[in-house]
Amino acid sequence: MDGALPPAATPRRARRPRPAAPPPRRVFPFTAIVAQEELKTALLLCAVDPAIGGVLALGDRGTGKSTAIRALAALLPPMQVVEGCRFHCEPGRPAALCETCRRKGARVVSAPVPVVDLPLGATEDRVVGALDIERALTRGEKAFEPGLLARAHRGFLYIDEVNLLEDHLVDLLLDVAASGENVVERDGLSLRHPARFVLVGSGNPEEGELRPQLLDRFGLSVEVSTPADLALRLQVIKRRDAFERDPEGFCAEWAGEEAALRARILAARARLAEVRAPDAMLEQAARLCMAAGTDGLRGELTLMRVARALAAFEGAREAGLAHLRRMAPLALRHRLRRNPLDDALASTRVARAVEEVFGP
């Protein structure tokens, strides 16, 4: 039960597990991650535009998926939140405030972007939030103890081995991810709070497949694999080794690159609203989706958003066909209609569609 968010200055602080022994651990720098370009790009673009809808990383274990997501959170600039709010409400967006914050004027503080782990086997209480047992038992109050969804608001919700997640949790996540709001009706509680997060899932498809309904909710999907090239593998091991031996020194070494990338994300966010998506590009996106045979309109929407985010990230004023072409595999490969008779890999099918529409 570490799902609770401690509101400032309550006796509940005592409940938080705070190990005394190890000092706060440094996070491996994002810019020091070797290879895995597709995964890094996907995560960065989601940081530029959270509306892209999350990343699904499929591949072997031990390829640095969780390292990348944790590194990204450390890289991102802190966000502005209403002080003491358990849902880290966003100041300046009155419509999106929680009930408490709407009632009182609030001071603004900055907080790190949350990355919340959703462990396999988590109970529904822990994910959604539940009645605060402690306060109910000791003070007889009916209070809500926020769950993981509340903690992930405006940040990232990371699910390792998402393909093994229990079905009732999957349903619940789908619902919240789609509505951006967590509605709690249980234990005599009735409340709702905002829960908008970037869903990041990882898993190994050999151990079980994802339901298509959940697949479709992820904006982008990337395939990660252990680098096969010896020079790259050497670099991975050496950097990891250097980091583990001297985290402080290693992070200091990469601080410059981290700052540069952070500035680039901020610039891209500022530019995003001005990046145009010309009709010709949208038309091509639609044709691409038709050629690839994706279900629904979500593919086109994601394609458009991610092309714009990429354009913004690269400093372009307009999302063009080149952006579309590069992002098509990430945005579409997990949306293809399943065809038991077509053995071709999803990536190959998307590549075929790209060639069909854009020419080789």
Partner: protein
């Protein structure tokens, strides 16, 4: 092929692994001790513990620990008694910087393994997985195995530790300053590739183990023998292929020199590097032959999902699922407190009980209510396919089609599918239970056909698999595709009569074990034997001369739903 180097003594190797782990418990993550509870394992644990600093926390994880006890939470009894929140630290927190033993690691659930892995990182723990698995399919969750560096062999008790606690402590201090040249890291990586170890965590562990060994030997930089030893201990048990012998060895690779003997680090020229790789790979090869089979089996296991470890078809759960009410009981071992019901149970007694010193309600143990949940039961459809005779290819193709259809449609139910084929001298598990379509497709590509028809062997294999699935908490459903022409008895004799008698005997056993069976008769004309077989097995029979994948899949779905 050249003579393989002599295999080092596993007892000495196990002791050495304990020393290396004691030097860097946090960096090496821990060890998997696959052995029955007994003197071998106890000896290793005692040896390891003696090498750690005196005050290192040493905790044992209760097999069915709940989140509260693991991660910390409210101490309910104390909270109620004192009227203020009393927090109890979780087990992982208590063990911070120390060692946690995981008894019956082969029954750990994936969820618990995921939390242990996260706790290992957060609290700097070394985990010792006590794997008491006997059968192949019993193994700790793969996500956990990946995070533990050593898998010492404990068929016999380990030898005496080659280093004492003082030497280990000195090595621990020296550890950060041990340098590693690129040539050594490259040699480790090349060996990992040659052994078919794809993931990068294993070579990273090997590097740390090598560094620990160099520190123990008092070296300032890694030498070839450090790498050779680390590769043997870390990569050897994980190998999935035998490395090809290095071409034209000019000298036999030396066996590990006795500890204490320093060696100058190799020169950095191409020849030196080539030699280093050879030495390291030879070391890996030396540890292989005995372990390769076991680890190959483990490797296929890794792709398989071990079950949550619950017995039988018990589906009411106290931990998760859809809520189906409450019952009296204490919220421990992962059971969830039903708060409102608890309060409701306490309220009527308030006038009768002495008022509590603080707070408003006097709550007693007998008031506590816990929630019950219903978990969704998974099923496994086991296809037993007759791959003999002329129609084999057709039958196999349709079975394959049905498997793919079932998998493609069965997301919501999360069903698994397995395929056993029987032909020639026996039965073969072509596709272990899976719900991964990609895997099924790969396993079923290019099936052989023809030969005799050992129906009894096929049914027997299916029964064993069904029992295994049932142990794992899933409900098996057997689908037998045959033209009912058994002609090979279990003892290998050809002949119709004996073969049919054997098949009927196995069918009776299936019935005794209450495995649901569907016999699909694919002969051009219905065979009375198939019907008799179904009757003996207590199952149904279905005549499908043109066993089409769609019809077959529909029949199986129906059969599974009807149970």
């Amino acid at each position: 092929m050249s003579e393989p180097p002599p295999r080092p003594d596993p007892r000495a190797e196990a002791a050495l692994a304990a020393c290396l782990l004691a030097v860097d418990p946090r960096g090496l993550g821990g060890a998997v001790l696959r052995a029955r509870a007994g003197v071998e394992r106890e000896r290793w644990l005692a040896l390891f513990r003696a090498l750690l600093p005196k005050d290192t926390p040493w905790r044992r994880l209760p097999p069915s620990i709940g989140d509260e006890a693991l991660l910390g939470g409210l101490d309910l009894a104390a909270t109620l008694a004192l009227g203020r929140p009393v927090r109890r630290p979780g087990l992982l927190e208590q063990a911070a910087g120390g060692v946690v033993l995981l008894p019956m690691a082969e029954r750990l659930s994936r969820g618990l393994a995921a939390r242990l892995a996260a706790g290992q990182e957060a609290h700097g723990l070394a985990l010792l997985a006590l794997d008491e698995g006997v059968q192949e399919e019993e193994a700790p969750p793969p996500g956990l195995l990946d995070r533990l560096a050593f898998l010492p062999e404990l068929a016999e008790p380990p030898a005496a530790a080659p280093f004492d606690a003082a030497a280990v402590a000195a090595a621990r201090r020296r550890l950060p300053s041990v340098a590693a040249e690129d040539a050594v890291i490259e040699a480790i990586l090349a060996t990992a590739a040659a052994c078919g170890v794809a993931a990068l965590r294993a070579p990273a562990f090997a590097l740390r183990a090598a560094r620990a060994h160099a520190a123990l030997q008092g070296r300032a930089a890694l030498a070839a023998e450090d790498a050779a030893l680390a590769v043997r201990l870390v990569l050897g048990p994980r190998a999935t292929v035998l490395p090809a012998p290095p071409e034209e060895e000019e000298e036999p690779p030396e066996p590990p020199p006795p500890p204490g003997e320093a060696e100058p680090s190799p020169e950095r020229n191409p020849a030196g590097q080539g030699r280093m790789e050879d030495v390291v790979q030879a070391a890996a090869a030396a540890s292989l032959p005995a372990q390769l089979l076991a680890s190959l089996a483990a490797a296929t296991l890794r792709a398989r999902a071990p079950a949550s470890g619950r017995q039988g078809a018990e589906r009411v759960s106290l931990r998760r699922g859809r809520p189906i009410g409450t019952r009296a009981g204490e919220p421990r071992d992962g059971a969830r407190l039903a708060l409102l019901e608890t309060l409701r149970a306490a309220v009527p007694w308030q006038r009768l009980r002495p008022p509590p010193p603080r707070g408003r309600l006097a709550i007693r143990r007998e008031d506590l209510r816990i929630r019950r949940f219903r978990e969704h039961a998974e099923s496994t459809a086991v296809f037993v396919v007759d791959a003999s005779g002329s129609a084999a290819l057709h039958r196999l193709a349709e079975a394959k089609g049905a498997v793919e259809l079932l998998l493609a449609e069965c997301y919501a139910r999360r069903d698994r599918v397995a395929v056993i084929a029987f032909r020639g001298q026996g039965a073969e598990l072509l596709l272990p239970p899976t719900h991964a379509l990609a895997r099924a497709r790969r396993a079923l590509a290019g099936l052989p056909g023809g030969g005799a028809s050992p129906l009894a062997a096929g049914l027997e294999a299916a029964g064993a698999l069904a029992a295994q699935e049932r142990r794992a908490g899933r409900s098996p459903f057997l689908v037998v595709l045959t033209d009912g022409r058994a002609n090979l008895a279990r003892d290998g004799r050809a002949g119709r009569e004996a073969a049919e008698a054997d098949a009927l005997a196995v069918a009776r056993r299936l019935r005794a074990e209450a495995h649901p069976v569907l016999i699909v008769d694919t002969a051009p004309r219905p065979q009375p034997f198939a019907r008799g077989l179904a009757a003996e097995a207590g199952g149904r029979s279905l005549v499908l001369p043109q066993a089409r994948a769609e019809t077959l899949a529909a029949a199986v779905r129906q059969g599974m739903a009807a149970r």
